[in-house]
């Protein structure tokens, strides 16, 4: 039984240019993945690949001109894309929680942090306020904030980046979510603080038995904190599968290039299949989006790319998988 099932999701930005012509940026082009309870999925990709947009599409936080034009998002069997806003509001912040990248801008600067936690709990649970407050202190303690009672009275600007990220995690946990979406939870934090937050996240995921979706551009985070990985490029998931398998035998040329560019495998002057400008979303090439810069591209790559299952759960979208596998890691 899967908790979250995303199928063939397409999100477009529709706008008009200066000559009043309609312009469509195809930002997500048929994204499919699923997350089972208790599993952690890492979504990796470079700037503009559509990682954050995938999360926003899933929880219905898109703002015009972005909208879902096709596809479905099912959470415990319920379709989210067509759900009325009122009903969706009951799920968001309670059953699905989200932690975003910039902890400081995600907190209300004019409300003490404890009150923000209480407020979030009260929206979904109309119990006595004192109970919410006790629960808030418990959650602050659970995320390793020392002396929660006094920190609850702190203003957001008084917190360090690591502490603010802990507060956001506490906030996400307030209503015991089944799915936690963390969008670049440690980007911008120092490595030692990053280690604290990631270790904490792993403990919490196990303790509260949540499914987690971590969006990151850091392959180290994926390698050590995720069960499964989905690699995004130009609005598509080009490869997904169990972490160990994908790192050991990346099948898609883009994944191969990405893993080959990590410090662990990097050799100065080695061959580079990645690093060019990402494709223009207003004018995506036909077929495979990597085609214009892929060394293995052939005529067949103009056709739309079928998903091919290489082993249970390991899927790649490439016409030339056999050639790519033979070439191996760049």
């Amino acid at each position: 039984m899967t908790l979250l099932e995303v199928e063939d999701l397409h999100t477009h930005f529709v706008s008009r240019d200066i000559d009043d012509r309609v312009r469509v940026a195809r930002a997500l082009n048929g994204v499919s993945f699923s997350i089972a309870p208790g599993r952690t999925l890492g979504i990796v990709g470079e700037t503009g690949a559509g990682k954050s947009l995938t999360a926003q599409s899933v929880v219905g936080l898109l703002r015009p001109p972005a909208r879902i034009v096709k596809g479905s998002v099912r959470f415990e069997g319920r379709e989210l894309t067509t759900m009325p806003a009122r009903e969706l509001n009951r799920i968001r912040g309670s059953e699905i929680a989200m932690v975003v990248q910039n902890p400081r801008t995600s907190l209300d600067p004019l409300t003490r942090v404890g009150d923000q936690l209480v407020r979030l709990h009260q929206i979904h649970d109309r119990g006595p306020k004192a109970a919410s407050r006790r629960h808030a202190l418990e959650m602050m303690d659970a995320v390793g904030i020392p002396d929660p009672a006094s920190r609850a009275r702190a203003w957001p600007h008084e917190l360090s980046g690591g502490m603010a990220q802990r507060v956001l995690l506490a906030m996400a946990l307030m209503n015991a979510p089944k799915l936690l979406i963390a969008d670049e939870p440690t980007t911008g934090l120092d490595v030692t603080v990053q280690a604290q937050i990631l270790d904490l996240l792993r403990d919490l995921v196990a303790r509260f038995d949540m499914a987690t979706m971590i969006i990151t551009h850091d392959l180290g985070v994926v390698a050590h904190f995720c069960d499964d990985v989905a690699v995004m490029f130009a609005g598509s998931i080009v490869e997904r599968g169990p972490v160990r398998e994908v790192f050991a035998a990346p099948a898609h040329p883009y994944t191969q290039g990405l893993i080959g560019a990590t410090p662990e495998r990097f050799r100065p002057g080695g061959p580079r299949t990645v690093g060019a400008q990402p494709p223009d979303l207003y004018d995506l090439p036909e077929g495979c989006p990597l085609r214009p810069r892929c060394a293995l591209a052939r005529d067949i790559c103009v056709a739309s790319v079928p998903a091919r299952e290489l082993s249970p759960g390991h899927v790649a979208l490439c016409h030339r998988i056999d050639a790519a596998s033979a070439a191996g890691l760049a």
Partner: protein
Amino acid sequence: MTAPVLRVERLSKRFPLKGGRFVNAVNSVDLQIAAGETLGMVGESGSGKSTLGRAVLRLTEPSDGAITFDGQDITHLPLGQVRPLRRDMQMVFQDPWSALNPRMRIRDLIAEPIRLHLRLSKSERAARTEELAKRVNLSTALLDRTPANLSGGQLQRVCIARAIATDPKLVVLDEPTSSLDLSVRAGILDLLAQLREETGAAMLFISHDLGTVRIISQRIAVLYLGEVVETGPADALFEAPAHPYTQALLSAHLPADPTVAVSRHVLEGEVPSPIALPPGCKFHTRCPVAISPCRAEVPPAIPVGAGHEARCLRIPDGGNRIVRKEPA
């Protein structure tokens, strides 16, 4: 042995605050870099690595200590006399978007240092500009555009072309790849490694990214609260870090390979304020192996290997190890 291009001795930088207090950004740092060598400087935010990078170029005035550049003491040289030396000492900044004048064409941006420092005719200058663009793998078709039309990786190539335009003896690179995507970063690192071979310039590579520093540097210096706590050859420092902070820093790094077991030692607490520095060893407030002398004595640099030294009082008694290797 040839004289180092850059030698820094007991360099400190304090920024005054109201009320007679100071932010102690850099505290008594010693380092040297030889021609053709890349020294990696790692540390977390607030460790003083950018201030140090700026101070060695006299972009910020050092409070104490001495800077010897190419055999000349430049610590107190009037800025008018430092300016001609800038031809031989260049810098690449973290954010290429704000480092380049948005209204200038790429061609003029690359030609600017040539115009300022080299006496070349107009046609020689144009030829050198194109040659520099080729050396940093920048398409000459981009030369007549403005920075807004280039990607981050391309802009950083422009910044590097500017930095090497005058064949400098020293290039300080302050987080040159931090704002770039992984695959773009790989291309810039390729370029830097290649330029170091070609030009023989000394490089000071400042970064918080341990993986990147290891690739590009021969030697590494680890900075904590404005002090160099450990220096050594890159491989020795990564394989046998001696200072507890270096060990914790390395253990916090996640290699992008799920088959490599990580034995982690997660540090408790946060970095103390550089306004009120702790006495003794600056790391004792977070150090899991601190003993009472650590709170009073400033540790000396203790050799732990060839060209490898660390400032920790626990090294002589062997109590400096904090991360135990767990079996994979």
